[in-house]
Every structure is written in structure tokens, then in C-alpha cells.
Symmetry: C2
Subunit: 368 residues, 2 copies
């Protein structure tokens, strides 16, 4: 996507070098910093420390992590057992997003189709790049399908502003290009529809206030940052026409694990008869699990992410302590929105209801 | 309440002087600063700037504001028209909490029972102090009534920890003594029940992380600070036994205006069959309004409260900017939880269902 006139993605391979570069998303919006990843360990750290985040990007980073493991393999031989061990380590970096396992397994399988050495390295690199391009294309398609939903609301409102609430960042920073939740918004904006986004700040790490607001601002899309507490009030007062969020893992029965707090917005949308959409590439579907609340592992992160807030002051990035130093805190990263609260999924193949039958109809090749 | 061995309230009249002192709640938990209020204008500023906050405390501060207006009246004559004008100014300081109007009107009426001058000043002072003592006693009674609800859950759980979620600060800092939402918790704790509080941090001003956590910590009550996003997940996983919140205005038909985000927690409690209680002194009932969502004015505050977060770093109070400097923000201070989502009210006279009949039975003298 364009940032101040420069075409940019959140991850890319450096031309002619065996190095992956990423935007270090911890410092946005106040500093745009790029970071080199040169080993599998670097990618694991980048995923764990949330240098990169967002399910599709975590998948892409994991895929490139396998590539970096391959180029750093003893004697560049890319021995199967070595690669398998590295892949397991990468897959364990974060537990909730299913894309990580999906992408790493896919690249690993591609490697094994080649005998060894440079052939495997090339196969791994090509497959990782293929995943990246596919996810970008998936997002573009999500944008086209989701656009129809926004256009319909715009028509019903006689062209008046369509107000869309989103939680966290499911934009291009999370997804290579366009984003998942934001793709329909960008498409609608490009086609001249009057859209305005309520961006939940998304505590604890404020990906909404920091990243979604930054993305939308750079693209010129109208938006307003709100606290995570505000959405219910806005919905009660007809200030939200639709909700679109991303997801980190979606059971093929329709339950949605996404950033903590998503469930609360889904409840409020239901209570106020506002459509609640989840946008996702099919890489985010979990084709095994059937009960999201019982089965999807919810990551608990360092409580300091809750206790401290990072931002800009005097031109520098600083962090401040909010609660008493002695007070314990807890940091649950995701929650699960049950299928009954979801209006529909917006996928690269089209829109479907959140149940096993409709998902299966759209993805018969993937349903096991 | 005891703070490090010192008996403390959030507001008091200085002995022998015509000065009111308050805890400046903007600097807690990192700094305990007292502030002098010497004029009605000082009290208006203190209410607007949230030096003091919380419905009962706003009422008490308003009452003392009338006293300060009286002592500063031209020639200490306390002319009726002068006092009426001052009262209107004080009542306009914040729109949502009904206690402010209730307390100011009550003190004004007490003034008019005296002919003028020093008699009026004494009457105003006495009535303000009476309100303060009554609110403290109301909180004590709320604690006793609410205690029974906690004790019952404790019995059902065989003495295992009772987990209580609260939003914002409805503690003694907001209410003179004990608090409203926290009074049952303090009472249960004193009686030896194993309680643990999930304290919503309560963005934008973090009254939960800053004030509730500070209060509970000073009292030795187990607690954990969480983001406002976390409650739904905790409820889905049986980690919350009950919710208790305060309120800024409650219609006599049972709708509850409280800190923004309360409605989302009420929805989650309903969705998970968890009791949702609202604790309030009867001064917080609005005996006129019948439809909270349509009729209660919701204050919009300065968006910088959302854009900046204040905390401690390097031993100093600092604030950091979260979103891009150019991104607009909105700051809605309250939302309304409809009566259908409330299990019961805990009042100084006992517990009642959130409907006009049951509220009227408990407060037949106040229902108009």
C-alpha cells in the first residue's frame, strides 16, 4: 500500500540477499522502523515480541522463517529432521493464530518435494513468496466481496456516510496488502462511497489507535479513534452501520477467535441489530476444531503489556505505568465470538454464513 | 477508610476554616495530593477537571460548593438570587450524574429556610455535612445488603474464591466511605470471605487501574487489573461469579447510566448467566426520567483524554500520545445499560429488581 507515496508491505525479501525485512510495528505510528530478520530465531522473536502481528502476516513471517532456517542449515543441506525441528519451534511462537501452523506446514511440505540442499532452499523460498502473494490476492478478493455489503448500506442510506466499527488492526499491516477487515473499506473508499471508520483503540497494545488509525490516515479514509468501551454506546445511538473485524482462527463451525474484546462488540451488535462481519482468508479457518470457546488456545501474555502503556512524548517513544506498582494484572490476548453472533464471513471466495454447511459449500476442497 | 494507617476521605471541611479539601484523584495511584477548594468556582473546576469524580462525591462536592458560594457572597449576605445563580453554575459542571443536582438543590433549599447572612451560611454548611455523612452511611448499608449476595455465592462455592468483576471506580474515593460497588466487597473481606476482584482498567481515564486497584491494594483485598476488553472472555470461562458496578444516574424505571463500557459488561454477564448488580445510594435515582437511553444526557469530553494516556515514568507523572497526531478521537464518558440486563439494585434500603414497581416499593417516599 502507499505510504506517503512509497509502495510498502509489512514484510518482504531483500532483493539478492537472504534477508527478510519487516516493518517493526511496535513503534508505529510515531516511528517507521524496518527490521532485518536473518535467522529462524529472528522470526520467532519477531512473532513473539509482536514486531509483526496479525494472523496472515504471522503466517507469512513463519513461512519466511522456514526459508531462513533452510539457508542457515548446516552445510546448506536442509536435512529433513533439522527442518522439522526448526518448523516446530516456529509454530510454537504464538498459539492462537492458525495461519502460522498452516503456512509453516505448507512450506515444509514444499521443501520435502525436493531432494536436498539448494533445491530445497529455492523451493522453500518460492513457496513462502507464493503464500505472501496469495494472501495479498485473497485480501483483494475479500475487498471486492465485502465492498458489496458496504455499497448496499450506502444505497439504503441514500449515500449518507456509512459508519463502520472495527476492532484491533486487520489492515494491510496485518495482511500484506489491503487487509482483511479493512479491504472492503479501502475498496469502498476507492469507489467513492462515503465511509467513516470507528477505530477501537484495542488495549492493551493499542493496535487500533496506533496501526488502524495510521493506515486509514495515510490512505485518507475518515476515521475516529475511540476507547474499546465506546462501541456499545455508539451502536445504541445509530452511529454504527456495520462491524467488520478480522480473526486469528475460525473454526469450520463458525466460531471466531480474534483480539480480546471482539466478543463484547459482537454482543452489542446483536443487541442493536447491527450486522457483524468477520473478514478472513481461508488460511485462517481451522478445519479440525469444532468448539471455539472450549478448544481454541487463548494466549496469555506478559501482564506488563497491561500495566504499561507506550506512546510518544517529547518526540521519543516512552512508556508509563498506569496501576499501582504492586497491583497484579492479567493479559489475555484473544477471546472467542461464538458463531451465533456472527452475521457472515467475508472470504476470498465470497460471503457465507457462519456454519459448517455454508463454509463447506464455499470450501469443499478444504473441509476434511 | 484507612490509607497506610491514616483515616481518610476524598473530601472534608478543614476544621475552623472556610476551606474544603479533596484528594486530587488525577494523580493517584502514583501521587497522593490534596487540593484546597476555596470558592464555588474552585469546586466547579474540580468537578469538570475530575479532580473529584464519582456520582456521590460529585454531589458532596457540589453541596460544599454551595457552602463556598455562600461564604464568598457579597457581604456574606447570601442573597437568594445570588445563591440561585451560583447553584445553577455548579449544577452545570457535569451533565450525567444526577447526584449533583440533587445535592445542590437540597442545600439551596436548606439555605432558604433561614432569613439570610450567617444563618444561611451555617445552614448550608450543616446541610452539606449532613449529605456527606448520609452518603457514608448509605454506603455502609449498601455494604451490608450486598454482603449477603457475596456470602451466598461463597457458600455455594464451598468457600472457594468469589470472583467479582467491577468497572471504573465506585469505591470510597467516589463515595466518601466504603464505596457503592466496593462496599459489599469490603464487608465480605472484613467478614473473612475469600474474594478476588477483576478491576477493569476503564479507559480513557483508567479509574479502575488507578483508583480501584489502589483502594483494594491499600485494604489488602486480592485483585487483578485487566483491560476493558477482557471481561467477556473471563465470563465465558467461569472466572467471574458476579459483576457489581456503580452508577451515575439510574432512572426509576431501572435504566443505568454508568461509565462508558458498563453496557458491554452487562451484555456479557447476561450472555453467560452471571448476575449483574448495580450498587447505588438513592441519591443516584432519577425520579423523573423513564427511558435511560433516550433521555439521560451523555457527556462528551475532550478527545485528548483518549489520545493521551497519563502514568508514571522515572518517578514523575507523564503522558504519552497513542494514535497518530492527526487522527481524530471521540470521548464519550458514559453509556446506558437497559434495565433488562440488570439483575438487581443494591441500595441503602435493601435489594430490589430494576423496575418501577420494585423500586417504588423500596422508596415510596421518593417516587413521584
Amino acid at each position: 500500500m502507499l505510504v506517503d507515496g512509497v509502495q510498502m508491505r509489512p514484510i518482504w525479501k531483500v532483493d539478492g540477499k537472504e534477508i527478510i525485512q519487516v516493518i517493526d510495528q511496535r513503534y508505529l505510528p510515531h516511528q517507521l522502523i524496518f527490521k532485518d530478520l536473518e535467522t529462524a530465531e529472528d522470526t520467532i522473536d519477531a512473532i513473539k515480541q509482536m514486531v509483526v502481528r496479525g494472523a496472515p502476516l504471522i503466517g507469512a513471517t513463519g513461512a519466511y522463517g522456514v526459508y531462513l532456517a533452510a539457508v542457515n542449515s548446516p552445510g546448506r543441506m536442509v536435512d529433513e529432521e533439522y527442518l522439522r525441528t526448526e518448523c516446530e519451534k516456529i509454530k510454537a511462537a504464538r498459539p492462537t493464530a492458525v495461519n502460522l501452523t498452516w503456512a509453516v506446514d505448507r512450506v515444509f511440505d514444499a521443501a520435502l518435494k525436493e531432494p536436498s540442499g539448494e533445491n530445497r532452499i529455492a523451493a522453500v523460498r518460492d513457496e513462502a513468496e507464493k503464500i505472501v502473494e496469495e494472501e495479498a490476492e485473497n485480501c483483494r478478493m475479500i475487498g471486492l466481496h465485502g465492498y458489496e455489503l458496504i455499497a448496499e448500506i450506502s444505497r439504503k442510506k441514500g449515500g449518507k456516510t456509512v459508519n463502520i466499527l472495527t476492532h484491533c488492526n486487520a489492515g494491510w499491516l496485518a495482511c500484506i496488502e489491503y487487509g482483511t477487515a479493512t479491504a472492503p473499506i479501502y475498496t469502498a473508499f476507492e469507489k467513492g462511497i462515503d465511509v467513516h471508520v470507528w477505530a477501537d483503540e484495542t488495549r492493551p497494545l493499542n493496535q487500533g489507535a496506533r496501526l488502524t488509525a495510521w493506515e486509514l490516515g495515510k490512505a485518507g479514509v475518515k476515521h475516529t479513534v475511540i476507547t474499546d468501551n465506546a462501541g456499545g454506546h455508539l451502536m445504541q445511538h445509530d452511529m454504527v452501520d456495520m462491524v467488520i473485524v478480522g480473526t486469528d482462527r475460525t473454526t469450520h463451525t463458525g466460531d471466531v477467535a480474534n483480539k480480546i474484546g471482539t466478543y463484547l462488540k459482537a454482543l452489542a451488535a446483536k443487541d442493536n441489530n447491527i450486522p457483524f462481519y468477520v473478514a478472513l482468508p481461508s488460511s485462517t479457518f481451522d478445519w479440525q476444531l469444532t468448539d471455539g470457546i472450549a478448544q481454541i488456545p487463548i494466549e496469555e501474555r506478559n501482564p506488563d503489556e497491561v500495566r504499561f502503556v507506550q506512546g510518544e512524548s517529547d518526540g521519543k517513544i516512552n512508556r508509563v505505568l498506569i496501576p499501582p506498582a504492586q497491583s497484579p494484572a492479567a493479559d489475555f490476548a484473544f477471546d472467542v465470538t461464538p458463531a451465533r453472533l456472527v452475521t457472515a464471513f467475508i472470504t476470498e471466495r465470497g460471503i457465507c454464513r457462519p456454519n459448517i454447511e455454508d463454509i463447506g459449500q464455499l470450501f469443499p476442497d478444504k473441509m476434511k
